[in-house]
């Protein structure tokens, strides 16, 4: 499929723009080897002014907008929101991109980077939240949809350890 997929293209665009980010959520599980399906990209970005400017420029250049808007006004993301603490559920082209300032209880980029693993991706290096921290995050979230994926994550963690 290569870069025909809009979500994969979006991820490569983020890397090309040198946005400092950590992939979390379902795509992180996929990258770590979990056989799960994911519909969107979840990232936690570093909230320094420079990094937010790089991210915002890319988002605006690609026409990103808030996809959760009942009035469907296609509102673009703002610098203030990206510097904040919330979740921005965006659409960028046909890709669904969730830009998360923090996950769990106030865990931002700096809190997560120690548990992130470098993964080679299209000639660049992607930081991906490791399986241990993913399991911790899913359990902390506590929703049924999070609990559902934990068994696969635990099995993947065990299989990865066995492989190494």
């Amino acid at each position: 499929m290569g870069l025909d997929d809009p979500a994969e293209r979006a991820l490569v665009d983020l890397l090309d723009a040198e946005v400092e980010l950590i992939v979390v959520g379902g795509l992180a599980a996929v990258l770590m080897g979990a056989p799960v399906v994911t519909f969107d990209i979840d990232i936690v970005h570093r909230r320094t002014p420079e990094n937010v400017d790089r991210l915002l420029a890319l988002l605006l250049r690609n026409g990103a907008y808030h996809r959760l808007d009942l009035a469907n006004r296609r509102l673009p993301p703002t610098r203030d929101a990206l510097l904040g603490r919330g979740h921005l559920n965006l659409a960028m082209g046909d890709a669904k991109l969730d830009v998360l300032c923090e996950i769990e209880e106030r865990s931002g980029y700096e809190d997560l980077v120690g548990d992130a693993e470098p993964v080679p991706f299209h000639g660049k290096t992607l930081l991906v939240l490791g399986l241990r921290r993913l399991i911790q995050a899913k359990a902390a979230a506590g929703r049924p949809k999070d609990h559902m994926v934990i068994p696969v994550l635990v099995a993947t963690l065990e299989a990865s350890k066995k492989r190494h």
């Binding site: 399991i135 934990i150 635990v154």
Partner: protein, 174 residues
């Protein structure tokens, strides 16, 4: 659940036998689910959780869930064969099955990050812990041989297929 099984003589016999044997609330929960009684199943589920909290400390809970010698677990209960027959039983020998389907490894319980999470789940959501034994590891072993790009392409490709199917069925996009 289809009503043919729930109303069958075999099902009635199972239900009567089960309650006569005074089986645990956890087993009752599964039976009630089989018999299309979700509300009662939920109540039994809550009862079984309370029982798990009060009857076992952390370690005995883990033994029960992971190693199973202290109490009768679902996997040991004769009703499991009835449940499995509803799901379709695998055709492989025990050794093969154990390589691909097994409970959480003892060393994972000792993991400094994951261990405490698992122990909490064993108390609060034991079904999550039990479900680890049902994960088909062959899918994971295969995925681990792929490059990260291939893993992403497969997952997103499957998601795109699901979305296309949803659209073709008139459910719109997610």
């Amino acid at each position: 659940m289809p009503t043919d099984f729930a109303s069958s003589n075999a099902a009635k016999k199972l239900r009567v036998d089960a309650f006569r044997r005074n089986i645990s609330s956890h087993h009752k929960r599964i039976l009630l689910f089989l018999f299309d009684q979700p509300r009662a199943a939920l109540a039994a589920h809550r009862t079984s959780r309370r029982a798990l909290h009060t009857q076992h400390d952390h370690r005995s809970s883990l033994r029960c869930l992971n190693h199973g010698p202290t109490t009768t677990t679902v996997s040991q209960h004769p009703l499991r064969s009835a449940i499995l027959s509803r799901m379709g039983a695998p055709t492989y020998d025990a050794e093969t099955l154990a390589a691909y389907f097994h409970p959480i490894r003892p060393e994972t319980w000792d993991d400094p990050i994951v261990g405490p999470v698992l122990r909490r789940l064993a108390e609060e959501a034991p079904e999550v812990i039990e479900a680890v034994g049902d994960v088909d590891r062959s899918l994971i072993f295969e995925a681990l041989t792929w490059t990260p790009e291939a893993r992403v392409a497969r997952a997103l490709g499957m998601a795109a297929f699901i979305e296309r199917t949803r659209e073709s069925m008139g459910h719109g996009t997610r």
